[in-house]
C-alpha cells in the first residue's frame, strides 16, 4: 500500500470507496493490475465497519468471529502488502462515462484522473424521517440508528436516556443493546411489518437479553416535543400498514432512533448513465459485477444491501478481478448471455445478466424474498419449465438468499426467472422470546442459523434434554443456552493522550456468562487506554476471574 503526495494521471483500476467492498476490490485488482488507486472520503479506511463494534463478522472470510473494526483492520493489512495507491480524505465529485474521475483532497487539491476500469463501492445511507414522513413536531432527538451509533461508538457521546426505536432492522437492534449497556433505557422497538427485518440472533441477544419488548405491526404516528423529543404516539397498523384509529397510546421518551432501511448511494452510477433497477435503486449488473457502462463495476451495498460483510468482500473480489481484466484488455469471453428475472415473491435478483463462456462453471444468484415463508422451494424457471428447485425450510425478507447454478443447467436458456413456490406464505411469525413452564421446561429459539428452530429444554437430574432442533448444532446451543447462557461483550474504552476524548472498541476474547455482562461493563467503563496500543492489546486481564481478557479491536495509533 502506498500513501502518496501526488497521483498519476492514469490508472488501470480506480476504486471509489474504502469500506469492505472497496478494500476487497482493490486488493483483488492489484493481483493482476499494477496501477490501482483507492479513493476514500473519510480520514480512515474501513467505512461503516469502524462504528460496527459488535461481533459477528468474518466467519466466511477469516474463519473466525470478528468485530467490525477487527475485520476492517485485517483487510487493511492485506492491502498493505499490495502496491495499491491509497488516498484517504479524497472525495469524488464527479465521474464520467469515459471513466474520468474528479476528486478533491486537502493536500492534492482538485484532481482529475483517468481510469481504464472503475469500481464504485460507495455503500449506502440510511432512510430518514423525511423519507418516511412521520407526523408531529420536529424537535431534536430523532436520529437514524447509524448516526446515534457514530456518536456513541466513535465520539463516546450518549444521545439520550429514554429511547424508542422505530424499525427492527439489525442496526436498530444492535443499538438497542448498545445504548442499554451505556446506561440508557430502551423502552421498546416498534416494527410496522408483522415480522422483524433483523436476524433472530440479534432479537435474542440484543432485545430479549435486556427485556426490551419488540412490538410488531406497530408504528410511530406522531412525535411530540417543542425542543427535544418528549413523547411519541404509537399506533397499531392493519395488514396494509395503515394506522388503526383508536389504538393510539403515548410513550414518553427523549430519543427516537430510526432503523427503517438503507438506500444504496448510487449517485455516481446514475451520473454515468448506468442502467438502474427502478425498484431497488441499484445498478443492473452482469455476473462479474459490471454495469451497463462497459468498464464500470459496482460492489458491496451500492450493488445490493447485504446482511453480512463477508458477502460484501466476496462481491468486491469479483468486481476487483473483473475490473483488472478489463484494464488489462481482457474482455469477458462469452458465447451467450442469459437474462435473470425476479419472479413470484422476489423483491429482486442480482445479477440481471449472466455471460456464459468456456471458463464459466458456476453462477451465483442473490435475491431477497418479499414475505415470510415456511417450508418452500425456490424455483428456477425457463419458459414454463422448472429447471432447478432448491428446498428451503424458511425464507424471510431480512435474509439475503444465495443459490448456485451450474453452467450446464442454464446453457440452453435465453432467460430464467427465479421465484418462490410455497404453501406457507406469511406463516405466522413468532417473536423469539423465552418462556418457562411450571415444571421448569424452557422454550426458546435457536439462533445458530436463520431457520430458528423452536427448542424445548427439559432439565432432569442435572441432565438437559433438547427437543425441537433440526440439527446437532441446535442440541449444543440449546444445552448451553438453557443452563448457562454465554455472551461476548463488545464495547468501547476511553483513551488518553489525544487532543479530543474519544473511544476505541474492545471485546471479550471469549463469551462470558450472561449474568456477568453488567458487572463486566462496569469494569470496562473504568478502563483508560494509553496511546499507542495495537489491536489485540489486553486492556483488562482475566475479567471477573473468568479466564477471559478484554482486548482492543482496533489499533490505537493516531497522532496526538
Amino acid at each position: 500500500m502506498n500513501s502518496v503526495d501526488k497521483v498519476d494521471k492514469k490508472y488501470g483500476v480506480i476504486v471509489i470507496g474504502g469500506g469492505p467492498g472497496g478494500l476487497a476490490a482493490a486488493v483483488e485488482a492489484s493481483k493482476t493490475c499494477d496501477k490501482v488507486l483507492l479513493l476514500e472520503r473519510s480520514p480512515q479506511l474501513g467505512g461503516i465497519l469502524n462504528q460496527c463494534i459488535h461481533n459477528g463478522f468474518g466467519l466466511h472470510m477469516f474463519k473466525e468471529e470478528l468485530t467490525g473494526p477487527d475485520y476492517a483492520e485485517k483487510y487493511i493489512e492485506k492491502l498493505q502488502d499490495t502496491r495499491v495507491v491509497v488516498l484517504t480524505q479524497a472525495m469524488v465529485l464527479e465521474t464520467t462515462k469515459q471513466k474520468q474521475v474528479s476528486f478533491i483532497h486537502p493536500k492534492l487539491g482538485f484532481v482529475k484522473v483517468q481510469a481504464e476500469a472503475l469500481i464504485v463501492a460507495t455503500g449506502c445511507r440510511e432512510r430518514t424521517r423525511g423519507a418516511i414522513g412521520i407526523s408531529g413536531a420536529r424537535p431534536s432527538g430523532v436520529f437514524t440508528a447509524g448516526a446515534a451509533q457514530l456518536f456513541l461508538n466513535l465520539d463516546a457521546k450518549t444521545v439520550g436516556k429514554k429511547v424508542v426505536i422505530l424499525g427492527s432492522g439489525d442496526i436498530g437492534l444492535i443499538m438497542a443493546r448498545r445504548m442499554t449497556l451505556e446506561g440508557a433505557k430502551v423502552l421498546g422497538v416498534y416494527e410496522v411489518m408483522p415480522y422483524s427485518g433483523g436476524l433472530t440472533r440479534n432479537i435474542v441477544q440484543c432485545l430479549n437479553d435486556y427485556d426490551i419488548p419488540l412490538h410488531l405491526s406497530h408504528t410511530i404516528t406522531k412525535i411530540h416535543g417543542e425542543k427535544r423529543v418528549e413523547a411519541v404516539t404509537i399506533s397499531k397498523v392493519d395488514e396494509n400498514r395503515q394506522p388503526i384509529a383508536g389504538t393510539e397510546h403515548t410513550v414518553e421518551c427523549d430519543t427516537v432512533l430510526l432503523s427503517v432501511g438503507l438506500i444504496p448511494e448510487n449517485e455516481l452510477n446514475i451520473e454515468m448513465g448506468v442502467d438502474m433497477n427502478g425498484r431497488t435503486n441499484t445498478p443492473v449488473l452482469f455476473d462479474n459485477m459490471e454495469t451497463s457502462v462497459p468498464g464500470v463495476f459496482a460492489c458491496g451495498n451500492v450493488a445490493q444491501v447485504h446482511d453480512l460483510v463477508d458477502f460484501v468482500s466476496m462481491e468486491g473480489i469479483k468486481a476487483g478481478a473483473a475490473a483488472a481484466d478489463y484494464a488489462n484488455g481482457i474482455k469477458p469471453s462469452y458465447t451467450k448471455t442469459v437474462r435473470v428475472e425476479a419472479g413470484e415473491h422476489l423483491l429482486y435478483v442480482t445479477p440481471s445478466q449472466v455471460r456464459l463462456g468456456d471458463d464459466k462453471k458456476i453462477v451465483e444468484l442473490f435475491f431477497r424474498v418479499s414475505g415470510i415463508f415456511g417450508a418452500s422451494s425456490i424455483q428456477v424457471v425457463s419458459g414454463d419449465t422448472v429447471i432447478k428447485e432448491f428446498k428451503k425450510e424458511h425464507l424471510a425478507p431480512g435474509e439475503l438468499e444465495k443459490i448456485v447454478l451450474t453452467k450446464q443447467q442454464i446453457a440452453e436458456c435465453s432467460s430464467i426467472r427465479i421465484g418462490v413456490a410455497s404453501q406457507n406464505k406469511h406463516s405466522e411469525y413468532q417473536v423469539p422470546v423465552q418462556t418457562v413452564d411450571p415444571d421448569g421446561s424452557k422454550h426458546f429459539v435457536c439462533t445458530i442459523c436463520p431457520k430458528g428452530c423452536s427448542l424445548t429444554a427439559k432439565v432432569q437430574n442435572e441432565q438437559v434434554e433438547i427437543t425441537g432442533n433440526a440439527c446437532p448444532r441446535g442440541d449444543v446451543y440449546g444445552k448451553q443456552e438453557a443452563v448457562f447462557p454465554m455472551r461476548v461483550v463488545t464495547s468501547t474504552v476511553k483513551t488518553e493522550g489525544f487532543a479530543h476524548t474519544f473511544c476505541v472498541p474492545v471485546k471479550t476474547t471469549a463469551p462470558i456468562p450472561k449474568d456477568k455482562v453488567a458487572k463486566a461493563m462496569q469494569l470496562i467503563n473504568a478502563v483508560v487506554v494509553k496511546n499507542p496500543a495495537p489491536r489485540g492489546a489486553v486492556v483488562l486481564r482475566d475479567i471477573l476471574g473468568l479466564g477471559v481478557d478484554v482486548v482492543l479491536t482496533k489499533t490505537l495509533s493516531q497522532p496526538i
Binding site: I104, G109, F110, T128, R129, S135, A147, F151, T158, N525
Partner: protein, 474 residues
C-alpha cells in the same frame, strides 16, 4: 442611546438593518432566538414572486414588484442563491382561464414586466411534465427562487460590517416612552432608542400592544411542505402554481435555489409556533401537486416541514407609524409575498424614519456586498486555488451537498457566526442533502464545540434547548 431599535430578526428586520446601514447612526436589531431568520423566514416556499397576485394599489402590490426587481438586481453581489426561473399559473378549465386573464391585467396594473398567457405546444415545451389537462398558463418571467435564509444573513452580515448591531437571544418584555425616547426592556437588560420598529413577525401584535391600542391581530396560518432530493431536478423548471383561490396561491411545485424540488404548502389556521407536520396536510399537498405534475415522485422526499405565515386580520401589510405613539413603527402582518417584499418595505421604512426625524447622512463604511466561497460552484481552476490557499477547503464535511470544512470555518469568521447545527445548515447547506445530516451532523457538532470551546452537549440542533448529545458515554 440607539437611533433605531428593530425588534425581530426575520427577513423584514434584517432588510431594514441593511437599508439603514447605508446611513450613519446607531442601529440595533433585537432577536429573541439564537439566530436570525428563525420564524416565518425559516420555513416558506422561497419564491421571489413576480407581483401579479396582489390587488393593485395595495402596499403588497407595490412592494412585491419592487422587491422582486431588487432581488434580481442584488442577489448575486450579496452572495444570495437565486435563480430567475419564471413561473406558471396553470388553468384547468374555462373559468380558471378567466382567472388568468384577470391576473394578467392585475399584473400589468401593478407594473409587472414580461407577463403573457401561453397555451398548447408552447406551454408543454416549457414544462414537459405538466398535466396534459392544463389548458393555459400565465407565464411570469420575472419570478424566481431565492434562499430566504441567505437573503436575511447576507443583509444582516453586511449591516453589521457597516456598523449595525444584532443582539441574539434577547426577548423584548416591555416598551415605554419617556422624555421623548423609548425604553425597551428585555431578558438581557434595558435598551434605549429614539425610534422603535416592530418587525416581530407572528409576535408583532403582542409587541404593538405594549405601545398602542390593538389595531391589528396576527392570525397565523401554517403550511406543510415536501422537499425532494436533487435527483428530481428538472421535473419542473419554473415555479408551477395552480390558479389562486381564497385560501391563497395554492400548492406549488418549484425548483429551489439549491437544486431541490419543493412542493407545498397547504394553509390552515394555526398557533404561532405550530410547525408540526400532519398526515392530512401532507396528503392534501400530495393530491394538489400531482394534479399539476402527475409524474411527481414524492417518494424522493428527503424532508417534510411546516412554516407559519404571519398573516393578520388586515387585507394589506401593516406598515407605518403608530397613530398613538410617535416614533413607534410597525412592519407587521407581512404575509405572502412578504419574503419578496421585505427589501422594498425596508426602503419605505427608511423614508418614514427620515420623515419622522432620523438624521440622514451617508455612512462611508456601508458594506453593500459580500462574497461567499462555495467550492461546488467553482471552476476547476478556482477549486485548485481555493484548496491550495486552505486545505480545509479540500475536506468535505457534508457529502450530499459537497460542503467543505473550509466553508464551515468561514462562517465562524463572518458576522453572526452560527451557534447551532441548523444555523450552519442555513449558511452553508450542510445536512440539507439526501442523508439529512446522517453522516455530517457529528462532525458539525464537533466543529461547533471546538470553535466555542464547549462540550458537544452544549451544541443545539436549532433553538436553545434542542440538544443533540446529552453526555459522555464513559
Amino acid at each position: 442611546m440607539e437611533d433605531v431599535i428593530i425588534i425581530g430578526g426575520g427577513v423584514s428586520g434584517c432588510s431594514l438593518l441593511y437599508a439603514l446601514s447605508r446611513y450613519k447612526g446607531n442601529f440595533l436589531l433585537l432577536e429573541k432566538e439564537n439566530d436570525v431568520a428563525m420564524g416565518s423566514t425559516k420555513a416558506n416556499s422561497g419564491i421571489a414572486h413576480a407581483g401579479y397576485d396582489p390587488e393593485p394599489g395595495t402596499k403588497m402590490a407595490e412592494h412585491n414588484v419592487q422587491g422582486n426587481a431588487w432581488i434580481r438586481a442584488n442577489a448575486k453581489k450579496l452572495g444570495i442563491p437565486f435563480v430567475q426561473t419564471g413561473s406558471l399559473v396553470v388553468a384547468f378549465d374555462e373559468e380558471e382561464k378567466l382567472t388568468l386573464q384577470s391576473l394578467l391585467e392585475r399584473g400589468k396594473a401593478n407594473g409587472v414586466p414580461d407577463l403573457s398567457i401561453i397555451e398548447g405546444q408552447e406551454l408543454f415545451l416549457l414544462e414537459p411534465n405538466l398535466s396534459r389537462d392544463a389548458l393555459a398558463a400565465l407565464y411570469a418571467k420575472t419570478t424566481g427562487v431565492v434562499d430566504p435564509w441567505a437573503l436575511s444573513f447576507a443583509q444582516a452580515e453586511c449591516a453589521i460590517l457597516g456598523g449595525g448591531k444584532v443582539q441574539l437571544e434577547t426577548e423584548v418584555t416591555g416598551i415605554s416612552k419617556q422624555d421623548g425616547y423609548f425604553v425597551v426592556d428585555t431578558n438581557k437588560g434595558r435598551f434605549e432608542a429614539k425610534f422603535v420598529v416592530n418587525a416581530a413577525g407572528v409576535y408583532s401584535d403582542e409587541i404593538s400592544t405594549m405601545v398602542e391600542t390593538p389595531h391589528f391581530a396576527i392570525k397565523p396560518k401554517n403550511g406543510e411542505y415536501f422537499l425532494l432530493d436533487t435527483s428530481e431536478k428538472g421535473i419542473v423548471g419554473t415555479v408551477v402554481f395552480p390558479c389562486p383561490s381564497k385560501l391563497g396561491k395554492g400548492v406549488l411545485v418549484a425548483p429551489t435555489a439549491h437544486g431541490n424540488i419543493i412542493v407545498g404548502p397547504d394553509a390552515k389556521d394555526s398557533g404561532k409556533e405550530d410547525t408540526s407536520v400532519t398526515a392530512e396536510g401532507l396528503d392534501y399537498v400530495r393530491q394538489r401537486a400531482t394534479k399539476c405534475i402527475p409524474s411527481l415522485n414524492l417518494r424522493a422526499s428527503i424532508r417534510n416541514f411546516t412554516g407559519v405565515r404571519a398573516n393578520s386580520d388586515q387585507s394589506d401589510f401593516v406598515i407605518g407609524e403608530s397613530l398613538e405613539t410617535a416614533g413607534f413603527f410597525n412592519v407587521a402582518g407581512i404575509k405572502s409575498p412578504g419574503l419578496t417584499s421585505a427589501v422594498s418595505i425596508a426602503q419605505e421604512m427608511v423614508d418614514l424614519l427620515f420623515k419622522a426625524g432620523l438624521k440622514k447622512s451617508l455612512n462611508a463604511k456601508f458594506v453593500r456586498s459580500r462574497r461567499v466561497a462555495r467550492l461546488h460552484e467553482m471552476s476547476d481552476t478556482a477549486k485548485k486555488l481555493q484548496i491550495a490557499k486552505d486545505p480545509k477547503h479540500g475536506n468535505i464535511v457534508c457529502r450530499c451537498r459537497q460542503v467543505t470544512e473550509g466553508e464551515i470555518a468561514d462562517t465562524f469568521l463572518r458576522p453572526l457566526p452560527p451557534r447551532s447545527v441548523d444555523a450552519v445548515k442555513r449558511r452553508v447547506q450542510t445536512g440539507m442533502g439526501r442523508c439529512q445530516g446522517g453522516f455530517c451532523t457529528p462532525k458539525v457538532v464537533e466543529l461547533l464545540a471546538e470553535h466555542y470551546g464547549v462540550d458537544m452537549k452544549e451544541i443545539p440542533q436549532d433553538k436553545a434547548g434542542t440538544y443533540i448529545v446529552d453526555g459522555d458515554a464513559k
